[in-house]
Symmetry: C2
Subunit: 191 residues, 2 copies
Amino acid sequence: MNKTKKQIVFEAAAKLFMEKGYLAASMRELAERVGLEQASSLYNHLKSKEDVLRKICLENADKFIKGIDEIERIKNDPITQIKALIHLHINIAAEDPTSVTVFNDEWRHLSEPYLSDFLAKRRNYENRFKAIIEKGIQTEVFKAIDPTVAFYTILTSVRWIHYWYKPERNISIEKLESDIFDLLVKGLQKE
Amino acid sequence: MNKTKKQIVFEAAAKLFMEKGYLAASMRELAERVGLEQASSLYNHLKSKEDVLRKICLENADKFIKGIDEIERIKNDPITQIKALIHLHINIAAEDPTSVTVFNDEWRHLSEPYLSDFLAKRRNYENRFKAIIEKGIQTEVFKAIDPTVAFYTILTSVRWIHYWYKPERNISIEKLESDIFDLLVKGLQKE
DNA sequence: GTCTATACGATGATAGAC
DNA sequence: GTCTATCATCGTATAGAC
């Protein structure tokens, strides 16, 4: 299955945004990377630089929303739900690390009203993630630590997996998943 | 104790870098914020935009290096050392959240040779942090999970505390510290 | 120490020829 | 679909008057 030039351009843009950051990435360099001599030629394949960023941010936000929709629907107890959330973050990051990096690090360069839309989606996801932890604490499945601290510590450690996890490290994603689960849920210390 | 204009300019720059990102922060806006009409007037107080970034990155890198120096010197067992590392990250972040945010998020805009210097320092710190975890695993104080996974999961969760921890949340830094320690070392799950 | 004036390059994007 | 030509704007930074 051949990629369209549009797909090639969008993927190269995501990679460039990841490597240099959105602002430092120039349309002229993007053109070079896809074999075009002129930046102006890019505009047959995309509407604007920000439009590319918008699509990346939106796509990934939707992946997380869909993921937590299903977790809330299918799973019941907080432990299983946390396990599924870790699974969700790792799988999204492993599937398309470039795109998820841009989503995580460059969303703040969205202009309004896209920025507000994005933040609303993110808040929605985070509130639901946090509610799962709160339920676990209330039902005494989890320790009585501050729910905000627990929530952000867990979210932060799974949110930036793409920063360091490279398949070259010879850790399978199954091992990654179960080690992170063991660490966060059962603790680093041996009994 | 009065602040010199230089201090005022440097602090405003750090805040601007944090709020907009280094590249999006302009010298013209910085001038406005410190009550100067012209960006050119700033150059009496700083050498260049990047020079400000360099100082921020270097200062914070040194704080972490000094911190781990002392931890290696004074503490013995891995559990106490991990506790002290969590303490270190939280204290540095609480002391000057603006500066540590810029240090964490904007270092990649350093130019050579400063970038290489910075990365060397960071690698040094991370290797020593990781060695503490590895020692814990070898001496069977810690679980036999992959040391790289354990290291990055813990580092990531303490490295981005400044993203969400605000004193307004009414969590004291002592409580923050002990909750994060409980979560990471003893696990979220209740016995 | 702050100002005016200015140099100089890079940026995203558009119009129109081919 | 790619090119040439071009635009308006903004970026950091310097020289020199006051």
